[in-house]
């Protein structure tokens, strides 16, 4: 069987995500079943053995992410897929992945929370958890798909970014996108751009955590003869634990700068009719589909509305928000949570920011967005 199912398909979002991973070269999936992400795991259990990879069902999500990190350290592109409760359990090892600079992909098909919440119904309320969920300071990278095609495309992007910057990368999907079926076009393998982690060029004087100019250190794998030590403790360029302020400063600053400095290359968004917009609607994932519709209706009614759809929520494209804020009168931020990314928009937009909230359990309606647009247009 082929890793890349070139052709046009009618595919469930969760399955498109799995196919994206396979097309990206993923050969290891460690997971634990959870609605609404189970279909990704099931697809990987079916497909990985066909392409020489391994699927292992771990005892919980803590073990799942630990296994994924272990597999990545052995040099295999690895991933897991989960939803809120499992994402919560993964937080400690997300920190381990960040600090040991271990590439992997973590898919969160968000459902309603807190706690067990709404297993079968949508939410987008883990967006801040993706940024701040693990303890300590770090920068997150998160892609947010809004179609089945993007479940495929963004999972590939997530792998490439994880490999490039050597850190865990999130795909923050939601139940609506994960459980929706749409057309997905899978290109030929040669058309898919793949990135692999940077590797050390020679053994002599290799320091496993000494970065190149781009702040990214080349990665040695287990079993290659480098004799590396990798620890979750604060460490120096040799990878040795050093428990002091200076080493902490150097390590944390570099890990953060590694992402911040490249943020303009990482962040992605899409804009519709924002050039002359008085009101910019900022949205992402399932909610952005309603947002787009609301913007179209508003335009027909003579309101100068535009849409900025976030593809990466983290790093947050703050520069673009600042630019748009120069001419826009107000921002409207619809999301299926009680107002998470709207606050992020507020940090960078000098003007008015209104949030359109939804506690989860269904689709945020275009009417709710339109109403808010009309309110601010007055």
């Amino acid at each position: 069987m082929k890793a890349v199912l070139t052709g046009s398909h009618f595919m469930l979002g969760d399955i498109a995500c799995a196919e994206g991973a396979l097309a990206a070269g993923c050969k290891f999936f460690g997971g634990y079943p959870i609605t609404p992400a189970t279909e990704t795991a099931e697809r990987m259990a079916l497909r990985l053995p066909q392409v020489g990879g391994h699927y292992i069902q771990m005892e919980d999500e803590i073990g799942s992410l630990a296994a994924v990190l272990g597999a990545s350290c052995a040099g295999v592109k690895s991933m897991t897929a989960t939803s809120g409760p499992g994402f919560s359990l993964m937080q400690e090892n997300i920190g381990l992945g960040i600090v040991t600079e271990t590439p992997c992909v973590i898919v969160n098909v968000q459902r309603g929370g807190p706690s067990t919440g709404l297993p079968t119904l949508a939410g987008q309320a883990d967006m801040m958890q993706a940024k701040w969920g693990s303890h300590g300071d770090y920068e997150a990278i998160a892609y947010v798909p809004n179609s089945c095609q993007e479940m495929f495309d963004f999972t590939i992007k997530a792998f490439n970014t994880a490999e490039k910057y050597r850190q865990p990368v999130f795909v923050m999907a939601d139940e609506i996108i994960g459980h929706m079926t749409e057309r997905v076009v899978i290109p030929g393998p040669k058309k898919i751009k793949l990135v692999s982690r940077k590797r050390p060029k020679r053994k002599k004087n290799y320091l496993p955590f000494k970065p190149d100019k781009d702040l990214i250190p080349p990665m040695a794998l287990a079993g290659e003869g480098y004799g590396i030590h990798v620890t979750g403790l604060t460490h120096d360029a040799r990878g040795y634990p050093v428990i002091d302020e200076e080493t902490q400063h150097e390590m944390v600053t570099r890990l953060i700068e590694k992402i911040r400095r490249h943020a303009p290359k990482i962040w992605e968004f899409e804009e519709v009719m924002t050039e002359d917009a008085d009101i910019v609607v900022v949205s992402y994932g399932a909610a952005s589909r309603s947002a787009g519709r609301a913007v179209n209706i508003a335009r027909k009614e003579g309101i100068k509305a535009g849409l900025m759809r976030l593809i990466t929520v983290w790093p947050f494209p703050e520069k673009r928000i600042k630019e748009l804020a120069e001419s826009a009168k107000a921002f409207v931020v619809p999301e299926i949570n009680m107002g998470q990314i709207s606050r992020e928009v507020e940090r960078f937009a000098s003007g008015r920011v209104l949030s359109v909230t939804h506690a989860g359990g269904g689709m945020l309606s275009p009417e709710a967005v339109l109403q808010k647009i009309k309110e601010v247009a007055k």
């Binding site: 050969k27 290891f28 460690g30 053995p49 066909q50 391994h54 292992i56 771990m58 005892e59 919980d60 803590i62 073990g63 799942s64 630990a66 296994a67 994924v68 990190l69 272990g70 597999a71 990545s72 350290c73 052995a74 040099g75 295999v76 690895s78 400690e92 090892n93 381990l96 040991t100 794998l221 287990a222 079993g223 290659e224 003869g225 480098y226 004799g227 590396i228 030590h229 990798v230 620890t231 979750g232 403790l233 040799r238 040795y240 634990p241």
Partner: protein, 290 residues
């Protein structure tokens, strides 16, 4: 490690290199452990074992969780991963599956492996993942200052059992055998030769192996429990330990006081298809592997 007894004359001669120098990370020594701690002996046995076995050092990987024992991964000069508290086993599981050529060992403490990480131990043994787990059982959480843990004997004093522990502890060899470990043994840090042989055996054996090392922690356990400093505790091991490979599971319970024996030995040595062998067998049958 530069002083070595020179033999006949009884003089101490300083030599440039110790035979284990290349196996330990010289630039990381001295280690952080307390005087009298058993971890140094446990690590030396392991260093000797990995060198003796017929597996290239570059194919050996050492992992640990968090704790005093967990620091061993940082001192042994092979590829090593110091993971999160309790999670070395699932990390090792992923690593082994991703590269089956590697000889993978998890070296960690009783609290790390059997409290916070207990569930992972059960499942890795059940699956018979081809990894070795070595547990240094010092009957307490040494790193955090001597609290009660899942192997603390009844009545033992720790900083969180001031009136004596009233929890039943795990009987680790019994547990490991019950869930399918293919090799199970227990030694104290006094039994260096035996321990090293067991380690060699485990390293070369296919499947999930388990070795328990009874080790003094004078700081967290020895002193409050009148076992004294490290040396006195070793004396206690010498007086009370009994090698009994065919011991009944009851006999393997540890009390660490009075006249109760410390039964050590090789308790299980058997064969069972490993996780990867079974996977291969199934996939081959379905034509998915050549």
């Amino acid at each position: 490690m530069s002083a070595k007894g020179a033999g006949n004359e009884g003089k101490i001669e300083t030599v440039e290199e110790h035979p284990l120098d290349h196996i330990l990370r010289q630039d990381r020594l001295p280690h952080i452990w307390c005087p009298g701690c058993g971890l140094g002996s446990a690590m030396t046995c392991f260093a000797q074992a990995i060198e003796r076995v017929d597996i290239p050092l570059k194919k050996q990987v050492l992992l640990s969780g968090i704790g005093c024992t967990g620091r061993i991964a940082g001192y042994v000069n092979v590829d090593s991963y110091h993971t999160t508290h309790g999670r070395a086993i699932p990390f090792a599981t992923g690593l082994k599956i991703a590269n089956p050529e590697l000889c993978v060992t998890v070296f960690s403490g009783d609290g790390d492996l059997f409290a916070i990480g207990g569930n992972h131990f059960l499942h890795a043994a059940r699956r018979n993942v081809d990894i070795n787990v070595i547990c240094v059982n010092n009957f307490n959480y040494g790193m955090t200052g001597g609290q009660q843990g899942p192997t603390t004997p009844v009545e033992a004093k720790t900083s969180t059992t001031r009136y004596g522990s009233f929890e039943h502890p795990f009987n680790l060899p019994y547990l490991a055998a019950a869930i399918g470990a293919v090799y199970v043994s227990r030694w104290t840090t006094l039994h260096c030769r035996h321990l090293e042989k067991s380690m060699e055996k485990a390293l070369q054996k296919k499947g999930f192996t388990f070795i328990e090392i009874i080790s003094p922690c004078p700081t967290g356990f020895g002193r409050p429990n009148k076992l004294g400093e490290g040396l006195e505790e070793l004396r206690y091991y010498r007086e009370k330990s009994v090698i009994k490979n065919d011991a009944s599971w009851d006999e393997l319970e540890l009390h660490m006081r009075g006249e109760e024996p410390v039964v050590v030995g090789d308790f299980v040595d058997t064969e069972r298809p490993t996780y990867l062998e079974l996977e291969e067998q199934m996939l081959r049958a379905k034509g998915l592997m050549k």
